[in-house]
């Protein structure tokens, strides 16, 4: 029913989202948002959270489909890859955040890379990697990511033990059987070794997720950055390929489906991408041949614009929060105009309603 669309407030049981809840909003507790999402939420959504003092997500079909698949995963089979793709502003990142919240509530370990494109451009300090002379280290990005990873997965860091000895340099090393938290601390404090710390974390998590102690969710936003081109250059101005960056190299190994005990959810994004045309949104166009072959086989999930029910629900949500202050916005004329101007695109609608 389009007229009487109400918001469904379900704070606890995300698992109970069924098809009949499609189009309705549910609110997430703000405390959870701070722990689970230290990074990774779209910036305009963060602004909206701050203004409304609440975080509300709409339950939509792509997310429901993914949740259904995740609930029925067989953890003995290799990890399945799901790729969310669609036009700009349709809600791929927020769908990913929905999935992450669900998995966090189910006590999975979340490995969330907020934006792959941040690792392949605008890097101020590139160091030659100590581990492998051919590759490059990115200390800043790695340490920032480790900090956020620590906030999101506090309790796992004190449970997981590493199964190999790693030597940082002549004086420091980390023994077999010590906690993962120590590796993360080392990465945060010694920024030079941050990239290697990230590599160790990824390797250990991949190895141990198959043992069944925990379930691993690898969530990467902007995964097409891993197989594109970078804008980074060496000192002699020759371009660097993505595989020469240690972070990207390790992440590619993570996204391969040779481990079991979890799932891999990926999002394509044209917005931050390098050297890709603006209209490109399909997996073949954004990933390129190399990326597509590396990710093949995967389950593609299209995220599209709002259907009429969801559009109406979104407008009702804004009206309930008194976000739409213009007197004409309540009328049928106003709603028709909003539909026309935004073409039911969630991102455009949000920007339109911001100044009305």
């Amino acid at each position: 029913m389009l007229k009487g669309m109400r918001r469904l407030i379900s704070k606890v049981h995300k698992a109970k989202h069924e098809e009949q809840h499609e189009g309705q909003h549910y609110s997430l507790p703000l405390q959870d948002m701070k722990t689970i999402f230290p990074h990774g939420l779209p910036p305009r959504f963060v602004m909206q959270m701050k203004t409304f003092n609440e975080a509300c997500l709409m339950v939509r079909k792509p997310a429901l489909e993914l949740l259904h698949h995740l609930k029925n995963t067989n953890f003995d089979h290799p990890a399945v890859r799901y790729v969310l793709y669609g036009e700009k502003g349709t809600g791929k990142t927020l769908s990913l955040c929905h999935i992450i919240h669900f998995c966090a509530k189910q006590d999975w370990l979340i490995l969330h890379i907020p934006d792959g494109h941040l690792w392949v451009k605008n890097c101020q300090d590139l160091l030659q990697s100590t581990y492998n002379k051919q590759r490059f280290d990115q200390p800043l990005e790695a340490s920032v990511w480790l900090k956020n990873f620590k906030t999101a997965n506090e309790r796992f860091l004190s449970q997981i033990k590493i199964q190999e000895k790693y030597v940082w340099n002549k004086r420091e090393s980390v023994e077999k059987g010590s906690l993962l938290g120590e590796v993360v601390e080392q990465g945060i404090t010694r920024v030079r070794n941050a990239t290697d710390a990230v590599g160790i974390v990824l390797k250990e998590l991949k190895r141990q997720s198959s043992l069944g102690i925990f379930r691993l969710l690898v969530a990467v936003d902007g995964v097409n950055a891993l197989w594109g081109r970078t804008t980074l250059k060496r000192e002699d101005k020759s371009p660097i390929a993505p595989e020469e960056l240690a972070l990207i190299y390790n992440l590619r190994k993570m996204v391969k489906n040779d481990w079991h005990g979890g799932a891999i959810v990926l999002t394509l994004s044209q917005t931050g991408s390098l050297f890709k045309p603006r209209r490109a949104c399909l997996p073949q166009e954004l990933l390129g041949k190399e990326g597509f072959d590396a990710l093949d086989p995967f389950i593609p999930i299209l995220v599209s614009n709002y259907n009429p029910k969801e559009f109406e629900s979104c407008i009702q949500y804004y009206l309930e929060n008194s976000w739409l202050q213009h007197e004409k916005a309540h009328t049928e004329e106003g709603k028709k105009e909003l539909l026309f101007l935004s073409n039911a695109n969630p991102g455009q609608l949000e920007r339109l309603c911001a100044y009305l």
């Binding site: 963060v46 602004m47 213009h326 916005a329 106003g334 920007r351 100044y355 009305l356």
Partner: protein
């Protein structure tokens, strides 16, 4: 030789309609500063409701108007006047005054509509959005009694702020006996609105801190003017005081 060509074209349209132009057009003289349309062109009617009224509800005059419009020449509507329900003529005028070098896209994105490809997303790029978010913050921080008094509609705040900034009386330099005297003079509505908007824009442009963006500064000034405080209101009061001080010179006005 554009001017004589224009004149002859107009002369032809004059003759075709048989309507004499109200303004005296002397031969050999072409008017450059006024509109390129000759006087018989009517302004376009943008309002959709005007055309949707059923025939039964219209008075004799309106029916006559409608019939007359079918035969008259009508000017082309400017691109900025849309039939949109959300359009506000005051906001359009203010955006035009803020515009520099014909860059309407930039002026509009600073005032109302955000550009889609903006790189920095976590600060509001438009004045109206910034005003709205500040008021929402205040609303959530206030107690339930105070909440009713907080206005959150950016359009009412904008209109009220500019109305508060309008001066009641203005000063005009009049030459008498070799000296210019500042004489207090009543202002028309149009002039008052213009002065309010001009003061607001100059204030924001000149007294802005270096790294602050225009929307943020404008939203600050608008909110202060809404509460009858701030530099623009002070400038209005200064103008009033000067007019009061020069009261004796009011006789110098001859209109």
């Amino acid at each position: 030789m554009a001017a004589p060509v224009m004149k002859t074209v107009r002369g032809w349209s004059d003759l075709a309609l048989g309507v004499r132009s109200a303004v005296l057009r002397l031969p050999g003289l072409s008017q450059v500063r006024w509109s390129r349309y000759s006087p018989e062109y009517r302004d376009p009617q943008i309002d959709k409701e005007y055309y949707r009224k059923p025939l039964a509800e219209q008075t004799e005059e309106q029916k006559f108007e409608l019939e007359l419009r079918k035969t008259q020449l009508i000017k082309a509507a400017p691109a900025t006047k849309t039939g949109s329900v959300f359009e506000d003529p005051l906001i359009s005028k203010f955006t035009n005054m803020m515009m520099k070098g014909g860059n309407k896209v930039l002026a509009r994105s600073l005032m109302t509509k955000e550009a889609w490809g903006v790189l920095v997303h976590w600060i509001p790029w438009q004045t109206l959005e910034a005003v709205k978010r500040k008021q929402f913050e205040k609303y959530h921080a206030a107690s339930p009694e105070e909440r009713a008094a907080i206005e959150r509609n950016p359009y009412t705040i904008f209109h009220q702020a500019l109305k508060n900034c309008e001066p009641v009386i203005g000063l005009v330099p009049i030459l008498k006996g070799g000296h210019f005297y500042q004489v207090p003079v009543p202002l028309s509505d149009r002039r008052r609105r213009f002065m309010a908007m001009k003061w607001m824009i100059t204030e924001c442009r000149e007294k802005k801190p270096r790294r602050m963006l225009m929307p943020e500064k404008l939203s600050q000034e608008l909110l202060e003017a809404f509460h009858n405080q701030g530099p623009v209101i002070r400038r209005k009061h200064d103008m009033h005081k000067m007019a009061e001080a020069n009261r004796a010179l009011a006789h110098y006005r001859w209109w």
